[in-house]
């Protein structure tokens, strides 16, 4: 390496208020940003390796453990991928109940991120615990919303972290209508609190920043995509999920135990998650959420990552509204799970996790044993984009002291709500890598 005397390295050992543990390293040489690393050093947990040899029935329970914040997301992508491999398709009632479970997870996860992880940044506070001393009602609203998300998950899934009700083919047991109706008043409160959340985040002063994103998400003809759909992008991509591997590539970089996903064609980064979804799918929002999106003062499509908090808030409205609709139109699936015959096959599925597109693929043998697994979580897909944005931003603030740069970087990264547990714990399996 040359000109070491002019190299300035800025490091942050451990980021805070993100899920999982990671750091940042920025290298500036001759007054230019040379290298930006979103360091992910959490130990890999080798899910894709130890899933091999397990029964397909175990996959939803196993993959839930990739992430405690979005276990249902992994279960949803997993069961649908396996169902594709088996050639079965559970009916509308099961699909609706899955969507309700998923809405609960979106509420839980989005409320957690907005109120506990990100809001303190806008008040110059180190945590929601500190923020609660000045704004107790605000933090309590966030906690209550989060709790309601957890309640939905507990009624449908048995518990909120690692639900036990999900199985290949449907559910071990479906809730009765009566049980779901208990959630109604709670969700009505959540809907109002979510609308208040949109008002709250719309009033925040969002730093100016614009990036040229390729937004990627699922898209569904009749609803705000969550369970399934085609993969679309703001650059005109429109592919069935089964083509994922031809369009997106994973790369292994030295500073990360998370694989980075890029567009195969040109090696470029892309964006997944609430902001990408709002940029692509907002015309499918249900009425209250659509109105909130129109009135929040953001011009969609929005190229500012800091508007992610607004996108997340609008999705809180969507998820509460959608939960109410799903409960009102609920018909108990009978049976709760469809029977299936084991056969050899391969199948994939993608769903919209709270943090964005989540892709699973499995190959199964004729005994129902997993032969290979591949899991691509949203954070792996956003990693490269996070680094691109950091590079852009740091370039504009090079004259500031290190501590200020670090602080700005950490705040920028929080916009993506990165889930480091997901990204390191779900890594791809590919026996042949040449």
């Amino acid at each position: 390496m040359i000109a070491t005397n002019e190299t300035r390295t800025i490091r942050l050992e451990s980021m805070t208020r993100v899920e999982g543990e990671g750091g940042l390293r920025i290298e500036i040489r001759d007054g230019r940003v040379q290298d930006v690393n979103f360091d992910i050093y959490e130990a890999p947990r080798f899910f894709e390796a130890f899933l091999r040899g397990r029964s397909l029935r175990e996959v939803p329970d196993f993959t839930a453990r990739i992430c405690g914040i979005c276990p249902a997301a992994h279960q949803m992508s997993a069961v649908q991928a396996i169902e594709t491999a088996l050639g079965i398709m559970p009916g509308q009632e099961i699909r609706a109940l899955r969507r309700l479970l998923y809405c609960g997870e979106w509420i839980e996860s989005h409320a957690l991120h907005i109120y506990l992880l990100q809001a303190p940044d806008f008040f110059g506070m180190e945590s929601a615990l500190t923020l609660s001393k000045e704004q107790p009602e605000l933090v309590k609203r966030g906690l209550e919303l989060k709790k309601i998300g957890n309640e939905v998950m507990t009624i449908v899934g048995g518990r909120s972290v690692h639900p036990v009700s999900v199985c290949v083919g449907g559910f071990w047991k479906a809730p009765q209508r009566q049980e779901l109706l208990k959630l109604r008043t709670r969700l009505e409160w959540a809907l109002q609190a979510s609308l208040d959340t949109v008002k709250f985040v719309s009033g925040l002063k969002l730093p100016a920043f614009a990036a040229d994103y390729e937004c990627v998400s699922l898209s569904h003809p009749r609803e705000y995509a969550m369970n399934d759909g085609a993969i679309v992008s703001s650059a005109g991509l429109n592919i069935p999920v089964r083509d994922f591997d031809q369009v997106f590539l994973e790369e292994h970089v030295a500073h990360s135990t998370a694989l980075h996903t890029v567009r195969a064609e040109h090696g470029s980064s892309y964006l997944v998650g609430p902001l990408a979804r709002m940029n692509l799918n907002r015309s499918q929002l249900p009425p209250a959420a659509r109105q909130a999106a129109n009135e929040c003062g953001i011009a969609w499509p929005c190229p500012n990552p800091y508007a992610g908090i607004v996108a997340r808030a609008v999705e809180l409205v969507m998820a509460s509204e959608e939960s109410l609709r799903l409960i009102d139109t609920y018909r108990e699936p009978e049976p709760a799970n469809v029977e299936y015959a084991i056969r050899a096959g391969e199948g994939c599925a993608a769903t919209e996790a709270p943090r964005g597109l989540l892709y699973h693929r499995y190959r199964i043998n004729d005994q129902g044993i997993v032969q290979s697994a591949r899991i691509v979580p949203p954070t792996c897909q956003n990693c490269r984009r996070i680094e691109d944005d950091l590079r852009l931003m740091v370039h504009g603030i090079l004259d500031r002291p290190d501590a200020e740069i670090v602080d700005a970087c950490e705040k920028l990264v929080r916009n993506y709500d990165p889930c480091i547990s997901c990204s390191t714990h779900a890594v791809r399996i590919q026996i042949n890598h040449r």
Partner: protein
């Protein structure tokens, strides 16, 4: 606990999914009060403020899977008066301990294009394999109620009361029909620590022991019982070799069963 001043608490994460520490944030009704009664010195997921040890209570999630984890857990022990482990990862090595029977180099080669970047120990091991643990809260994830019981006990200086009975007892208390007897479903409830409220049998499925083996669990006799009811051996083995499969009771039972098979 310090006679005056608030107890200093720290929350650490090793190899894990975040689910157990999330359970602390999932104590939505109690969180702010709890945080008022103790000084949360270190909890990266929840706050940016980081205060150095020593700590009165360290809560540790996750298993030891790298050299770095090992150094950390020793350092945590040195700094902490009471060390509490959270969940199956910390107590038994967790689901990632499924790799313990495999060749980790092969795993790494299989997953990463540049295996040289990856530093992983051959095994995922529980905290207690390396340092003394004062209390273990079971579960994958831990239950919020048990976490609250442990935290409030430590705050007032009494010993936490955690149940020592099995999931079966919880089924009986809740009036849940036994899935093993009524439907012949393989269930590890008889040998699994209580705490979850028998949630799986409540959903008509067997327990897969995410709370780990209870004390004096007789896994061998359960295995014989399952086999007698027609549960195929590979399925029994998979059940044992699951979420808490690296726990001594389950690991040795699986080994014995495997020997009997061959």
């Amino acid at each position: 606990m310090p006679a005056n001043g608030k107890p200093r608490v720290a929350v650490f994460k090793l190899a894990s999914c975040d689910g157990c520490q999330l359970q602390m944030l999932n104590l939505e009704d109690e969180l702010l009060d709890l945080a008022g009664q103790m000084e949360i010195c270190y909890f990266l997921e929840a706050r940016s403020q980081v205060l150095d040890g020593p700590y009165d209570v360290a809560l540790v999630e996750g298993s030891v899977t790298t050299e770095h984890d090992l150094e950390r857990v020793r350092d945590i022990r040195r700094k902490s008066q009471t060390l509490v482990t959270l969940g199956a990862c910390a107590n038994t090595g967790g689901i990632q301990a499924l790799r313990n029977m495999q060749d980790v180099d092969e795993y790494t080669r299989a997953i990463y294009a540049n295996p040289a970047y990856i530093h992983a120990l051959a095994q995922s091991t529980p905290i207690a394999a390396h340092v003394t643990v004062d209390f273990a809260i079971n579960g994958c994830p831990i239950s919020r109620e048990q976490l609250l019981e442990v935290l409030t006990s430590l705050l007032i200086g009494r010993s936490p009361q955690l149940p020592a009975h099995s999931v079966c007892v919880e089924c009986k208390r809740k009036g849940t029909v036994c899935v093993l007897v009524s439907k012949g479903i393989a269930c590890l409830g008889p040998v699994t620590h209580a705490g979850c409220g028998a949630v799986c049998p409540g959903f008509g499925r067997g327990c897969f022991a995410c709370y780990g083996p209870m004390e004096s669990a007789n896994a061998d006799s359960l295995c014989q019982g399952l086999a007698a009811r027609g549960v195929p051996r590979p399925e029994i083995l998979r059940l044992l070799n699951g979420f808490t499969g690296w726990a001594e009771e389950f690991r040795s039972a699986a080994e014995r069963l495997e020997r009997a098979t061959t």
